[in-house]
């Protein structure tokens, strides 16, 4: 019996040492940041699909440039709608300010075990009140984020990775979820006086759920993107 206890204790120690899983939020976030910092810059083609029930927009093909720590430039030849919150998300942008984090629980996303962390920014001027992160510790990547802001409510981002194509912690797809205020346009502006449109107004909830699907392809990573791309052509 004594020997069995010793064996169990040794196994426990061994597992604790070998396993990369930890419950320390600071270590988890540092590993995510270190992994992301392998990417100095990138250029990527994106396809943006907007899904809001009262809004019909053609899919947009565009190009995004990123440079550490938080420079983002968006280029599109056609009109595009970008989610106001979270479109320029990066772990380094999220964690560059002072914050406090704590571990909540284990969870599963698409059969992958993830650690759920809460991150609270410490700055008083920050718009973000609270972010919840679902972190895949086996790859040190964020798989899901839910953020509550002071001004724009809560939004969520799901990140999908295709590591067969890209060996960096960069997503192949991001799904943004948020609430959108419904349209309420005075009749004189739209010129639409048909009664059909009035019937549609019967659904009088003030907001509706919106989603934006962004697919990333053809990553060009660490190619040394010059700063002038971010300076000269500011995001509109």
């Amino acid at each position: 019996m004594k020997n069995l206890n010793k064996i169990l204790f040794l196994v426990f120690i061994l597992v604790a040492v070998i396993s990369p899983q930890t419950n320390d939020p600071d270590i988890i976030l540092k590993k995510v940041l270190d992994e992301f910092n392998k990417v100095q810059d990138y250029e990527v083609n994106v396809n943006i699909k907007v899904d809001v029930n009262f809004l019909k927009v053609p899919d947009t093909e565009a190009k995004i440039y990123f440079k550490q720590p938080d420079k983002v430039h968006f280029e599109s030849e056609t009109f595009a709608l970008l989610p106001r919150e979270g479109f320029d998300f990066s772990p380094s942008a999220l964690l560059k300010k002072k914050y406090t984090a704590f571990y909540v629980r284990q969870d599963t996303i698409e059969n992958v075990k993830v650690s759920v962390l809460k991150v609270i920014p410490l700055g008083e001027t920050d718009d973000v009140i609270l972010s919840t992160l679902w972190i895949d510790q086996s790859k040190n990547v964020i798989r899901k984020i839910e953020t509550t802001t002071k001004t724009n409510g809560t939004f969520g981002i799901e990140l999908k990775y295709d590591h067969t194509n890209v060996n960096y912690p960069l997503p192949s797809k991001m799904i943004f979820s948020f609430n959108v205020d419904k349209m309420n346009i005075p009749m004189g502006f739209s010129g639409d006086i048909s009664p059909e449109s009035k019937e549609k107004k019967k659904d009088n909830k003030p907001t509706t759920a919106g989603k934006v699907y962004v697919s990333y392809s053809n990553y060009k990573i660490n190619i040394g993107i010059p700063d002038k791309i971010f300076e000269n052509k500011k995001k509109k």
Partner: protein, 280 residues
């Protein structure tokens, strides 16, 4: 024979200064709207999409030639009928006013051909006016503001059409607007056959259009039930070309109703004119 009659009628139309009022009005109004849109257009778009801009960043230029042409078409398609009536009201009644009715019908031409040639001349004028509107708003709009995606804002919906998916819609919308204006022409033409002065047909037609449009716009249950029986209800169907998907069934129905009205008004005019006792 009919072609020479039409050319005679056209020369009569284009010899009168009132014919050019419509072209002049469009030539003055459209640039004014374009300048106003250039100055205030961005603000209007921001106001209309303010809810959406809380959730989205807009990248690109929505203030382009297509949007301005769409706004002009929305604004002027209600007023263009007045410019049509100015000429259409004079087509038959003008002969009575000038005292040339008797000379006209004593020529070796059937009364039907006289009415038909006058109507076709009026139709050419109507189409030229709509074409002029298209050139002024679309061609100059594109030249000055360029092309881009077209944002179509209805009361509760927003549709953004890709830039390569807009021009053909405008062509069909202008075509439909021309059909709508043909109804106005034929109604004024009918009234013109009844009286001996052009003022009556102009005022009567405009009164009918204004009353019908007001009834259509009022949000009262009783008026909504009679709405489908008002031809003005179908004159706005050009807007359907800016839907996605386009409800072609509804458009065919609207076009059929409008063509039916043209045939009815024209047929009635032919009947009245052929039975008319010419005294002047």
């Amino acid at each position: 024979m009919i072609f020479s009659l039409i050319s005679i009628e056209l020369s009569k139309i284009f010899r009168k200064w009132r014919t050019y009022i419509g072209f002049l009005a469009i030539a003055v109004l459209v640039p004014i709207i374009q300048i106003a849109m250039l100055v205030e257009g961005e603000k209007s778009i921001n106001f209309m999409t303010r809810n959406l801009q809380q959730s989205f960043i807009f990248v690109g230029n929505l203030l382009n030639g297509y949007l301005i042409s769409y706004a002009i078409l929305n604004a002027l398609v209600v007023h263009i009928p007045f410019l049509i009536t100015l000429v259409a009201g004079d087509l038959l009644a003008g002969e009575a006013t000038a005292g040339t009715y008797r000379i006209l019908v004593t020529r070796p031409v059937s009364r039907f051909k006289i009415v038909l040639s006058k109507f076709l001349a009026g139709l050419i004028y109507t189409n030229l006016l709509v074409l002029w509107l298209a050139i002024m708003s679309l061609a100059i709009g594109i030249l000055v503001f360029g092309i881009g995606e077209l944002i179509v804002i209805k009361n509760v919906n927003i549709l953004i059409l890709a830039r390569n998916d807009v021009f053909w819609r405008f062509l069909l919308a202008y075509g439909f607007a021309a059909l709508s204006m043909t109804v106005v022409l034929s109604l004024t033409f009918l009234f013109s056959s009844l009286v001996e002065n052009a003022i009556g047909p102009i005022v009567s037609t405009m009164a009918i259009i204004i009353v019908f449009v007001i009834i259509s716009a009022l949000d009262i249950e009783f008026f909504q039930s009679i709405r489908p029986y008002l031809f003005t209800n179908y004159m706005q169907s050009w807007r359907s070309f800016f839907d996605d998907p386009i409800d072609f069934q509804d458009l065919y129905k609207s076009a059929a109703v409008l063509i039916g009205h043209v045939i009815f008004f024209f047929g009635t005019t032919v009947y009245i004119f052929s039975k008319k006792d010419i005294l002047s």
